[in-house]
């Protein structure tokens, strides 16, 4: 690891000296996501492996190139999991890419996002300095919380060498229900349920069908299932369903219509735009297959209290993430400059101007 870290640091310093962009890359499974890929690829996968995993600490520490699949398998051996259920989007997904992309899966609304589980990171900044923030303990307020800032920064602030994540036990029981429900009622119902002590761990609505996953102690899951009165889905079929949703292999994601991701207030009414819609996260996440122009989609998202990302396809020339208000944009540019003064780490991957 230290040889790899030294080698990376050397390359970063060299690139900074020449103002030569570097494109940090793990398995490349998220190449489709974010702005254009620019610069010379720096493959981080030589730096791999689980460094420390103590199930009773609920913490795992691993190097950036560790395949997510390997990490999840190690956790599964101890009946534990990454509770944010990260999408892999391909066989080669790595831990570094997972944190840099900051994407979370179906369990997000109930368990939290990637950033909620990041306890510490070791990074190389744009000067090639080897820095550690946070740590391996669950409560830590020494210094600014820079490790959570790294989550979702798409490699623009630093090369993640190693990360420590909080992990959770797998639920003892899990059960999926299907209900028929029109969209407006589904949104209302999901919000109402979320305000009750029900063990709902995931939800998805599409085209009149609502799927709800219950997770927890067997008694709680069965009691809730009685209550919610839906049709029980066969276990294997349910597992396939949630995985297809997370990995976007479900037929909703087929075809080449642009895929928009709208992160909104959970009880925002139906998004009035043409095209198919799929709702997750108890109403807080709306997937849209629409050819409506970016300005229209973004306006609809802000009316719903949130923002829109052009997730896959479409015209990406104007940037895929929602534009930032002026002061926030300044903070972003200057934070980027603080971490990477030469602007060489994944330039324009997050916003076109840095």
């Amino acid at each position: 690891m230290d040889a790899a870290a030294r080698d990376f640091a050397e390359r970063v310093r060299d690139a900074a000296g020449r103002k030569h962009a570097l494109r940090l890359r793990g398995g490349g499974t998220k190449d489709f996501y974010g702005g254009p890929l620019a610069g010379e690829a720096l493959d981080v996968r030589v730096c791999a492996g689980i460094v420390d995993y103590e199930p009773t600490e609920l913490v795992i520490t691993a190097r950036c190139g560790t395949p997510l699949a390997e990490l999840e398998a190690a956790l599964a051996q101890h009946q534990q999991m990454l509770a944010f259920e990260p999408p892999h989007f391909g066989a080669g997904a790595t831990l570094g890419g997972c944190i840099a992309a900051g994407l979370s899966g179906p369990r997000r609304a109930s368990a939290g996002a990637v950033r909620d589980f990041v306890l510490g990171v070791r990074i190389l900044d744009g000067r090639g300095r080897d820095l550690a923030f946070g740590g391996q303990v669950m409560k830590n307020v020494a210094g600014y919380d820079l490790s959570r800032l790294i989550a979702g920064s798409l490699g623009t602030l630093g090369l993640i060498l190693e990360a420590s994540l909080k992990v959770l036990p797998r639920p003892a029981a899990e059960l999926t229900l299907k209900l028929e429900m029109p969209e407006e009622r589904a949104i209302e119902t999901l919000n109402r349920w979320a305000g009750q002590p029900l063990p709902i761990s995931a939800s998805a609505w599409h085209d009149g069908d609502l799927a709800v996953r219950l997770s927890g102690a067997a008694s709680a899951v069965h009691a809730a299932a009685e209550n919610l009165d839906g049709e029980r889905v066969d276990e294997a079929q349910a597992a396939r369903f949630w995985s297809a949703l997370r990995e976007q292999t479900d037929s909703f994601f087929d075809g080449d219509a642009p895929l928009w991701r709208l992160s909104v207030r959970s009880h925002a009414p139906r998004i009035e735009l043409p095209g198919a819609q799929l709702i997750e996260w108890g109403g807080a996440l709306r997937w849209l297959r629409t050819r409506a122009d970016a300005a229209t989609v973004r306006a609809a998202a802000s009316r719903a209290g949130g923002h829109a990302t052009l997730f896959r396809g479409g015209d990406r020339s104007a940037g895929v993430f929602a534009p930032l208000p002026p002061e926030s944009a300044r903070l972003h540019r200057e934070l980027k400059a603080a971490f990477d003064p030469a602007g060489i780490l994944n330039p324009a991957r997050l916003y076109p101007d840095f």
């Binding site: 307020v141 036990p169 997050l350």
Partner: protein
């Protein structure tokens, strides 16, 4: 303060001309009641919960509207006047220690619950709203705000955001950072910024996570949107005795290993148990070397199932006695001692110093033995209470501040404990913050490049370094000085903690 490093400006005399200029500039747009400068009015603000550090502020501003906050900041920015935000002043690390040459920005008048949205399960509140008041307001909807610091009847949500505060339920329900959706605030230059959103995420960098726990150094929070959770139907607690502290620590680990995340998992050692039993008479087992409190919450079925599993695990881990609360009154009785641990300890000793390190749970036994050896080395007692589920320790060093030598020994004792926390892979503060108190230990926990990065982040938000200067992140110069001293000290004199009515942990 013994031989602890002197703080910059701590004894600085107030510059009367400057005071007049600044007060006048603020009075130009603030009503008279909102600007205090006479010593009899500013003296009550001289310290927060860390009373060892006191400094009378040059001027206190008590704004009533967001526009006023913005104008105060703009005015101070233009005049190069330092500003220190203050919530309820319960902080335990001196984060709200006032500036002798600046303005203490007291957010106490921001007491309004702006909006509750029970369907979306969010509440929008002003920063001066007390933590417990949020749960009170939303209780009729069957909802509550989860993070519950023991100071919750007094501390403000603005202070919680600044410190990323935790509580006994944070193992299962998270810290402040996991339960706040959005913070609106102003930078030192008076520019409005939104951190986060009412949606589950916001575009760009996670500035919300950066703002939370930034100890009032990056921006002043003026409106906070918190997430609300449905109240569990039932909660019950198992109280288990152990004849050995290490066994109790192992039992806590065994609970987690069994796949259980308790709603609370707390431990008191024998010395702490004796102190609290005298105080609350809850019927604690005085034979025990350590007591574990392990809570389950959820639906009635779930709790019954989980309590049975907890009992099996604790039994196998060698519990010598166990009882389960049968009703809410009994549950509260079991918790009463743990919640009152600090005042209880305060009764058996003239003074005590509460520490706040976090360590990996597996090093607990080692840490407790180390603390026991320090008790002998320094001739001071040190009962322990801690959040066993997440390794956050609160050792309480008992001393008499009137005895200079005891004070000195307490400082050395505390410094050794903090350094040990770092050595075993933990941190110098789990929830109380660095403030002025642990600023020297920051030089041990972080390397120069890391501290330089913190300072660079600070400059992005506050180029002139005027917002809460001298806190949380040490200067290069300070670390050099500290390094030269060789001896590492902290500052344990908290003999006169305000809010004595509150449990302390």
């Amino acid at each position: 303060m013994g031989e602890a490093l002197p703080l910059e400006n701590i004894d600085a005399r107030i510059d009367a001309a400057r005071q007049r200029d600044v007060a006048r500039a603020l009075r130009a747009f603030l009503p008279e009641r909102c600007v205090l400068w006479r010593e009899e009015e500013t003296r009550p603000f001289e310290c927060d919960g860390l009373t060892a550090y006191r400094r009378v502020p040059m001027v206190v501003a008590l704004p009533e509207t967001e526009e006023q906050v913005q104008r105060i900041l703009k005015t101070c920015h233009a005049m190069e006047v330092p500003v220190v935000p203050r919530g309820a002043g319960t902080g335990l690390s001196g984060g709200a220690l006032p500036p002798g040459d600046g303005v203490l920005l007291a957010m106490a008048k921001f007491m309004r619950v702006v909006r509750v949205d029970p369907l979306a399960r969010v509440a929008v509140v002003q920063p001066g709203v007390r933590n417990a008041a949020i749960s009170d307001v939303v209780a009729p909807f069957g909802l509550y705000y989860a993070p519950d610091p023991s100071s919750q009847i007094a501390c403000s949500i603005g202070g919680n955001v600044a410190e990323n505060s935790g509580g006994v339920h944070c193992l299962k329900y998270g810290l402040t950072v996991h339960n706040v959706l959005r913070v609106r605030g102003y930078t030192m230059a008076g520019e409005p910024v939104d951190f986060g959103a009412e949606a589950l995420d916001a575009p760009g960098y996670d500035l919300l996570a950066l703002m939370i726990g930034s100890e009032g150094l990056l921006a002043v929070a003026t409106e906070i949107t918190v997430k609300l959770l449905p109240k569990a139907q039932v909660a019950r607690v198992v109280m288990a005795s152990f004849d050995d502290v290490e066994k109790a620590g192992d039992a806590a680990a065994a609970i987690i290993a069994a796949g259980i995340i308790p709603a609370g998992l707390e431990m008191m050692d024998g010395a702490a148990t004796h102190a609290v039993e005298q105080f609350v008479h809850a019927g604690y087992d005085l034979e025990a070397a350590a007591i574990l409190l392990c809570e389950s919450d959820g639906t009635a079925e779930e709790v019954e199932e989980e309590i049975a599993r907890m009992e099996r695990v604790l039994e196998r881990a060698g519990a010598t006695r166990m009882s389960v609360s049968r009703n809410e009154a009994e549950r509260l009785k079991y918790w009463s001692g743990r919640k009152a641990a600090f005042p209880a300890v305060g009764r058996i000793s003239p003074d005590y110093y509460c520490m706040d390190g976090t360590i990996p749970k597996k090093r607990l036994g080692e840490m407790l033995n180390f603390i026991a050896s320090l008790e002998k080395k320094y001739g001071l007692r040190c009962p322990n209470v801690f959040h066993a589920g997440d390794g956050n320790l609160h050792p309480l060093i008992l001393f008499d501040a009137n005895d200079a030598d005891q004070l000195h020994r307490t400082e050395e004792f505390a410094a050794e404990v903090l350094e040990k926390c770092i050595e075993v892979g933990g941190t110098i503060t789990g929830e109380h913050g660095v403030g002025v108190e642990k600023i020297n230990q920051m030089c041990t926990q972080f390397r120069p490049d890391e501290l330089a990065t913190f300072r660079a982040v600070k400059r992005v938000f506050d180029a002139k370094g005027l917002l809460n200067p001298g806190k949380a992140v040490p200067t290069l110069h300070r670390c050099a000085e500290y390094g030269r001293m060789h001896v590492r000290r902290s500052s344990p004199d908290r003999s006169a903690l305000p809010h004595p009515e509150l449990p302390r942990f």
